[in-house]
């Protein structure tokens, strides 16, 4: 692996900061759990 990145920039158009990427991943995760919980409740 080359040199560690010095800044917090993701190099993406959006999100530009890593905190934004992690936040987005968490939102997707929570959305999946909620969807699965709804599926469980709807068809139980």
């Amino acid at each position: 692996m080359t040199e560690p990145d010095k800044d917090d920039s993701t190099g993406l158009p959006w999100p530009r900061r890593w905190a934004g990427v992690y936040g987005l991943v968490l939102v997707v995760f929570v959305a999946w759990v909620v969807l699965l919980a709804v599926l469980t409740r709807m068809f139980s």
């Binding site: 692996m1 560690p4 991943v25 968490l26 997707v28 995760f29 759990v33 469980t40 068809f43 139980s44």
Partner: protein, 568 residues
């Protein structure tokens, strides 16, 4: 399988392996051999991480779990996104800064050589055994249903993966992972489409989900606090997070994948790719199993999915016993199907009372079908007391061979082999690297040339490949295969994670304290494993917590001892 299927299978497998060997030919230094081109992009890393984890067991066994127990197993993966974020934030920058080849080198930097060896040793023990299972598992299922010789299947698939992993090292593994994941995705989508097309005419997707829900197959989230339950939201979140932290953060087969990234950014994005897609992938595979369950409520399934075992056991069972069970099963299934059709008819008519009555009747009819299946298993168990009758690993492959058109059969069997080889290659690559860096270079030959270590790494990779093939040839596993792998991992992973978390967060703990604490924690996990019946995911939490707590206590005792000596 016909000629077309075999052409797809053999052609694809050989084409991927040959391409990998050809593309990575020529001399390479140790860094390039163990860490790859160091310019690997995030998508390749993401697919490679996914391919290493998703073995053939995942694709053969998980739909069987969906068929038997529904979607609940998906909770096992709830901790993965959280763990991957922690790894991207904490673990990855440290590995990157120290420019290590293996995760266990870091333990040597932070503690001492014996702790590094302990971490590497636990990995080699656990992953060495697991490597045998990952090659045995698909081979036993595929050879049984295809009528292939088990030893030939194990040796042929084993030697193919050894060949390209030894030849091209990390680059070859990353390259093949990309193509193998492409085949796997294509196969799974094809299975899903064929399955939907095979469901009875007039049965909508909503009807299918209603039926599945009626049979309790769509209970994806279980809020129960009972620790005896294998899969709950809590065991998945906490136990699953510790399992994922340990597996993705400290298991060299995964660490090696993201250390090959062109930068921390590429590695992080590769990990986040998995954090986003891990749960949907597992959900999709389990849903395949649930849909197969619904399909087999209308199409008579075998009483016992392992047809080869069924045929071989016939001679051991009292004459006519299995035939009588099969006859009763056919009758019960026909009755159940009639009740299901009444249920759907009432549903379409919008008559809740009739729908409720039909549903109750259908569940009762299914109860009779299930009890005949259970009785069949107990008869087979009694006939062959040494083996536990468990046919869930055969559900998906039976569906494929009986109901999927030729060509697609070849694609799906190729997908199983791609999955088997992809995880195997990651494991062999890591076993070879760890043996070379943490054992051979560290203990045996310290100042040899780069070329020497490359040759040594190739030899160790080949050695572990042959060990895995040997283990697979003599293994006799009866437990559900994916659970066997996860249980094996959970028994060791907690303590290894404890070593790393102690290194990261308990700065005052020294090597001696953590070394003996890890051994004590591992002994505790073994003792609990053989005396309790809790979900195996909890052993990740227990092993890690015990290792960290013992380390703190022992470090305190050591410091008090030193102070006592100084004052006297």
């Amino acid at each position: 399988m016909n000629a077309l299927d075999y052409i797809i299978l053999v052609g694809t497998m050989l084409a991927i392996a040959t391409h990998a060997i050809w593309s990575t030919r020529g001399p390479r230094d140790l860094n390039r051999y163990l860490k790859g081109a160091c310019g690997t992009r995030w998508l390749t890393i993401g697919l490679s991480v996914m391919a290493t984890q998703a073995s053939a067991i995942t694709f053969l066994s998980t739909p069987g779990q969906g068929y038997e127990s529904g979607l609940g197993f998906v909770q096992n993966y709830f901790g993965a996104p959280l763990a991957l974020i922690v790894i991207a934030v904490v673990f990855l920058p440290i590995y990157s800064r120290l420019k290590v080849y293996t995760a266990y080198e870091y333990l040597g930097h932070r503690f001492d050589p014996k702790t590094r060896l302990l971490g590497a040793g636990l990995f080699l023990l656990q992953r060495g055994l697991g490597a045998g299972i990952t090659i045995y598992a698909p081979a036993i299922v595929l050879s049984t249903v295809m009528g292939w010789r088990l030893d030939v299947t194990i040796v042929a698939s084993g030697l193919l993966v050894v060949a390209y992993t030894v030849a091209g090292g990390c680059d070859a593994v990353n390259l093949t992972h990309k193509f193998q994941m492409g085949v796997i995705f294509a196969g799974m989508v094809a299975a899903f489409v064929v399955l939907l097309a095979r469901l009875p005419a007039g049965l909508t997707f909503s009807d299918t989900l209603t039926l599945a829900g009626g049979f309790h197959k769509l209970q994806a989230v279980d809020l129960s606090l009972d620790p005896d339950r294998r899969y709950t939201l809590w065991s998945g979140l906490l136990g699953g997070m510790f399992l994922a932290l340990s597996y993705f953060g400290t298991d060299q087969s995964q660490v090696q994948r993201y250390l090959s990234g062109g930068s921390v950014r590429e590695s992080r994005l590769g990990l986040m790719f998995n954090a986003v897609f891990k749960i949907p992938l597992q959900f999709f595979i389990l849903l395949l199993g649930v849909l197969i369950f619904v399909f087999y409520q209308f199409e008579r399934p075998p009483v016992y999915f392992n047809k080869a075992a069924w045929n071989s056991e016939t001679s051991r069972v009292a004459p006519g016993r299995l035939a009588a069970l099969e006859g009763a099963f056919t009758g019960a299934h026909t009755a159940e199907r009639a009740q299901l059709e009444a249920w759907i008819k009432a549903r379409h008519a919008g008559d809740p009372a009739a729908e409720s009555a039909a549903r109750t009747a259908a569940l009762a009819a299914y109860g009779r079908v299930a009890s005949i299946r259970a009785e069949t298993k107990s008869v087979l168990d009694a006939a062959n007391p040494g083996a536990r009758a468990n046919d869930t690993d055969y559900v998906f492959i039976t569906f494929i061979l009986d109901h999927v058109p030729h060509g697609f059969i070849g694609l799906l069997v190729t997908a199983f082999f791609c999955a088997a080889l992809s995880s195997k290659a990651g494991e062999l690559n890591a076993l070879g690297s760890t043996t070379t860096i943490d054992v051979y270079r560290h203990l045996v030959k310290r100042d040899a040339s780069d070329a020497h270590y490359v040759v040594a790494s190739k030899c160790f990779t080949a050695f572990w490949g042959l060990v895995a093939i040997g283990f697979a040839l003599f293994a006799n596993l009866t437990e559900n295969l994916i659970q066997a792998v996860n249980i094996l991992g959970s028994v060791f992973y907690g303590v290894v994670l404890g070593l790393f978390l102690t290194a990261f967060f308990l700065k005052r703990v020294c090597g001696t304290a953590v070394f003996w604490s890890a051994l004590a924690a591992q002994a505790l996990v073994f003792a609990l494993y053989f005396s309790l019946s809790i979900s195996y995911l909890w052993y990740n939490v227990i092993g890690c917590a015990a290792c960290m707590a013992f380390s703190l206590l022992l470090q305190t005792a050591i410091e008090l001892g030193h102070r006592g000596q100084q004052t006297t």
